[in-house]
């Protein structure tokens, strides 16, 4: 009786192990541990990039996501959409298109009523080590990444004094969910020249070199599906004519299903293209597999 069981077990193991070793697994990440999508298309919060990798895949599969986000501000509308793929929870490749509608300000600045500043952001991120959820509570998940940004309305950027119309950001990000406190912590250091993310070009009269900027987030996990928190992001201030402020938001992200996450936030983007106090609502939907 035992012998038969052991043999059956052994046979099962012999069949199961090689199959499992080669099999590509679909999905399998814990809810929310793929993050949501930043306005630059990377996995993170809304404005800060995190060390998480996009897609629902684990180390044994391939996943991906698509997103649409809007930021409704007093004087502007910001929209971004894009897609990302996640390879083996190791590499993330992303693309986002940003559309920044200047509404009445466009006319006031002389670039045209409802003129839309557009930018493409191509991103790549590699998880170096660590696990945001498992392992030692003191060992975060750490990733490095690049974001290549191409401003499609370079003449506006040049007109406000930007030195370049394309730029590449480099960053290192660390993210950890502290299970014992249900607190999510993230910090990112970014080398960048971008003015307002790149929508106003790169570098300017007040500075044309890379500077180190900081992104941080603190969140609290209320349930498997629900996390609330805030983000802070420092930015360069390179343009004499258009002061730039740090960004700040308070967010709530909800995993409606394994494949759909909704995010809503109150965002304070400070002064943008000479118009101060741009505070409004950030809304984002992310589909992932």
């Amino acid at each position: 009786m035992y012998f038969a069981k052991i043999m059956a077990c052994a046979a099962a193991v012999l069949i199961a192990v090689p199959a499992a070793a080669e099999e590509l697994r679909q999905g399998g990440k814990l809810l929310l541990t793929n993050g949501v999508t930043t306005i630059e298309g990377a996995s993170g919060g809304g404005i800060s990039t995190w060390a998480l990798i996009a897609g629902n895949e684990t180390t044994d599969g391939i996943g991906g996501s698509a997103h649409v986000s809007i930021v409704v501000l007093p004087d502007y509308d910001w929209q971004s959409h894009g897609a990302a793929i996640g390879l083996f929870d190791r590499v993330e490749l992303s693309y986002a298109r940003q559309n920044f509608n200047t509404r009445d300000i466009g006319a006031a600045l002389g670039i045209g009523q409802d003129y839309v500043l557009r930018q493409d952001v191509f991103g790549a991120k590699v998880r170096l080590f660590g696990d945001a959820v498992y392992g030692s509570p003191w060992a975060p998940q750490v990733a490095v990444g690049v974001q290549h940004k191409r401003n499609l309305d370079g003449w506006v950027a040049r007109a406000v004094g930007a030195k370049e119309t394309e730029g590449t950001d480099f960053y290192v990000a660390a993210t950890k969910l502290s299970l014992s406190t249900s607190i999510l912590v993230g910090a990112t250091a970014r080398l960048t020249k971008a003015n307002q993310n790149g929508l106003l070009g790169f570098g300017g009269d007040k500075g044309e070199d890379y500077s180190v900027q900081f992104e941080g987030t603190l969140g609290y996990q209320l349930s498997r599906r629900f996390v609330i928190g805030g983000e802070y992001r420092t930015k360069p201030d390179n343009l004499g004519v258009a002061r730039e402020d740090d960004w700040f938001d308070l967010y709530a992200a909800y995993a409606i299903t394994r494949n759909l996450t909704a995010t809503a936030a109150y965002a304070d983007l400070g002064s943008i293209a000479t118009v101060p106090k741009q505070r409004g609502a950030f809304l984002s939907l992310q589909a992932s597999f």
């Binding site: 069981k5 077990c9 193991v13 199961a16 929870d89 498992y134 509570p137 299970l179 209320l222």
Partner: protein, 155 residues
């Protein structure tokens, strides 16, 4: 020498309804985590009775799971329910001893992947939620299990 062997054999002689396993040294540290202090966590889990219900639901869910059920098939369920109960009760400071094997040797050759671990965690979350364990306490318990992943998942 002979005495230690005999002691080991007696210690690991199968409990009623269980299949024998290779001899091993019984010690609480096999549980893979140190217990909480105080009674807060034990209460959050509904005491020993609550832990027993959670473990039963958890094991039932794992066995019935379409992703990971296969991994549990053919293994000694009676023993698994007993040792898991002991492990949870020990960690939650319920005054139990853990008499099972350590996590590394009991999971070796199972071929477990990351996705299996996540699935198991989700089944445990569901079992804890059904018992009414507050989410923050669920996470505090998972914090004790999270470092064990490296011993449980093969790659």
């Amino acid at each position: 020498m002979l005495l230690t062997a005999l002691a080991l054999f007696l210690q690991t002689a199968p409990s009623p309804g269980e299949e024998p396993v290779d001899p091993y040294e019984i010690k609480d540290s096999n549980a893979g985590a140190t217990p909480f202090s105080g009674t807060g966590m034990l209460e959050a889990f509904g005491g020993k009775e609550g832990i027993r219900r959670i473990v039963d639901r958890f094991v039932d869910a794992n066995l019935a799971d379409e992703e990971i059920g296969e991994i549990f098939a053919g293994h000694d369920q009676v023993r698994l329910r007993r040792t898991l109960f002991e492990q949870f009760c020990y960690i939650l400071n319920g005054g139990c001893r853990y008499t099972g094997r350590d996590m590394k040797s009991s999971h070796k050759d199972l071929g477990t992947q990351h996705a299996d671990m996540n699935r198991l965690v989700e089944n445990l979350q569901a079992a804890m939620a059904t018992e009414g364990v507050p989410f923050a306490a669920q996470n505090r318990f998972l914090a004790k299990l999270a470092p064990m992943k490296r011993d449980v998942v093969e790659r």
